[in-house]
Subunit: 166 residues, 2 copies
Amino acid sequence: MAARGKSARRKPAVRKATRPGTVASNVDLGSLPAALGYLLRRAQVAVFADFIATLDGVGLRPGQYSVLIVIEGNPGLSQRELCAALDIQEANFVPMMNGLVRRGLAQRRPSPADHRRYALHLTARGAALLRRARALHRSHEARLVARLGTRGRAALTRLLQALANL
Amino acid sequence: MAARGKSARRKPAVRKATRPGTVASNVDLGSLPAALGYLLRRAQVAVFADFIATLDGVGLRPGQYSVLIVIEGNPGLSQRELCAALDIQEANFVPMMNGLVRRGLAQRRPSPADHRRYALHLTARGAALLRRARALHRSHEARLVARLGTRGRAALTRLLQALANL
DNA sequence: TATTGTTATACTCTATAACTATA
DNA sequence: TATAGTTATAGAGTATAACAATA
């Protein structure tokens, strides 16, 4: 938060009083702090940063985590189906899936009925890693609830869903 | 991202038909729809898509729009100060500012007191474009309020601010 | 020595076209 | 012809190191 009023005219003497992460700026952001897109972006970046740091130990990025969850919940799913569900470009999914396969977390099994398709599955190791990741994810969510309150979290969920498919 | 005519505030009985852009997925997303990071990301992407489409006519991306707003509100600001206020890496700001200068929207004036600094200013053309952009931005925000309600918008603002500096 | 702006670079994420092999 | 997967590529966005000019 700014320490001074918005129309601070005077230049404070060498404000080097910034702590790491806190920018003591008397810069007027104008209408930006009221713009939903701006707020949404700042919040998303902050939440992702916390999520990424939280799951660093299991080596999963947000996208990889979501892919593992969907494979686990829908064993045998094809790549196209998974990509459609998560709004991932199929071309971009290939190297990502390659990484999961290389790490022994997921498999591409040949689909018996249709030789064009793969049936995606988690390995035992993938399922085990996902259990650890889920626990970490829960701690991340708990941190968010500490900020928002249970009631606030429910309200935020509803509001974000209203925007999700604008 | 254009809204589709098929409004239908109806309860999806079983399966929604596949329209372009709407994937008829019976894919189980598991815990993802309850994950704040996931919801935040989906909402941010949707809102940005609408913003970008709305401001396409003035040729401004979200980052450029925010930069013009801050320059206008703080004429004479240095590049470092602007970057600190908007959390932009200074190295990344250079080509972006070059683009605004090339388009005649903003200027780097030499700072008389300190020859290391630039004093950033909008040109008349930049100010005029920003006026048009602001009007477009307002229509974008109005679309969001139509989704959220005035009360919902206020609540969302508060909740996002609580997450912004996690 | 420190600060301002810059260049170069690299890595992620995303988007599109074109190809292959199967259906 | 259409579909599933793949490759190549290009564009944003973001991050860090190193440098020149200036303080």
